[in-house]
């Protein structure tokens, strides 16, 4: 086990090698399986896999559905569709991690950088659990140390404004 320090100085213990293994991303074929059966029963090491091509915390940056090939309007439409799927499907879920595991949320992460201003706009209008997605896409935690969703949302908005993602 290794240790680090998190919010409010809490020590974190995690298994050695957790980072080396990378963070799981959606295998498109596995996604179909998850939707067809139960996303809740999926394990990170099973239907969700590490993509050896990923160098950005496991988020795929290219492939058949390369988000850079989409127009802003297409990204917006796809984002809205996935967001609604995710909100409805995870409404009763008591765990944020369970929410992040949902295929629609994973596909939002897969939209990549074009999704960042959309996620920040969401935080402005109705703060929600978008911090994991933002962290996966950008490679940072703009709200590190924050312990409330409202405060974290404000810090992500401030970061996005500062770097020019949003005005």
């Amino acid at each position: 086990m290794t240790s680090s320090v998190g919010a409010r100085g809490n020590p974190i213990r995690r298994p050695v090698g957790a980072l080396m293994l990378g963070w799981p991303v959606v295998n498109p074929s596995a996604t179909a399986h998850l939707v067809a059966t139960s996303w809740r029963q999926a394990s990170w090491s099973g239907a969700l896999r590490q993509d050896s091509k990923c160098r950005h915390w496991g988020v795929p940056r290219s492939g058949p559905a390369d988000p850079t090939q989409r127009t802003d309007a297409q990204v917006r439409a796809r984002f809205d569709e996935l967001r609604e799927q995710w909100i409805v499907a995870t409404a009763g879920a008591a765990s944020a991690m369970e929410r992040f595991r949902h295929p629609a949320y994973q596909q939002i992460i897969g939209l990549g950088q074009p999704a960042v201003p959309l996620l920040v706009d969401e935080l402005r209008s109705r703060p929600d659990h978008w911090f994991w997605a933002l962290s996966c896409i950008t490679g940072l935690d703009a709200a590190e140390g924050s312990t409330t969703i409202g405060d974290a949302a404000q810090r992500w908005i401030a970061w996005a404004t500062e770097v020019g993602y949003v005005r």
Binding site: R14, W57, G92, S95, A96, W132, G139, E144, G150
Partner: protein
């Protein structure tokens, strides 16, 4: 979408007991926070892709970060609770119920009110008051795994 129809669709056993919503839907806190009488933070050990606590979530210092029933029991033990035998109301005691799925993973927490009824925050949905714990047993939250109590 939110409201009683959505809640009863997710928790069909609620239709067999008395229950009602006691707050608007709110995504800023979860059931564990609500059981711990906090409606401002989402209590969960969310670890960032970089291996640190992800900003936006709260987890008490000294409690393990794995999502296990033992860690959730420990969380409430650190707040003065001890495991007890019954969910029945006992004068002079405050009670919390922890639910788990069929793999023993914690899924939900409810807090008993002085009336003997229970209060629950349902994910990102509303807080509800429900007459018994049975109303939340089912596919979404599994079953009641443990009851804890502390002096009121």
């Amino acid at each position: 979408m939110s409201g009683s129809s959505q809640i009863e669709r997710l928790f069909p056993n609620l239709t067999a007991i008395a229950w009602h919503a006691t707050s608007p839907a709110d995504r800023r806190y979860n059931c564990v926070a609500w059981a711990a009488e906090d409606n401002e933070a989402w209590w969960e050990p969310v670890i960032s892709p970089a291996g640190r606590f992800l900003g936006g979530y709260f987890w008490p210092h000294g409690v393990g970060v794995q999502t296990t029933l033992a860690n959730y029991i420990n969380l409430f033990r650190m707040r003065g609770f001890e495991i007890c035998e019954t969910a029945e109301f006992e004068a002079g005691w405050s009670k919390v119920a922890l639910f788990s799925d069929d793999r023993g993973k914690p899924t939900h927490a409810s807090r008993q009110l002085r009336s003997g009824a229970w209060t629950s925050k349902l994910g990102a949905l509303e807080d509800i008051e429900h007459a018994t714990l049975d109303g939340l047993v089912g596919a979404e939250y599994g079953k009641v795994a443990v009851i804890l109590r502390r002096p009121a």
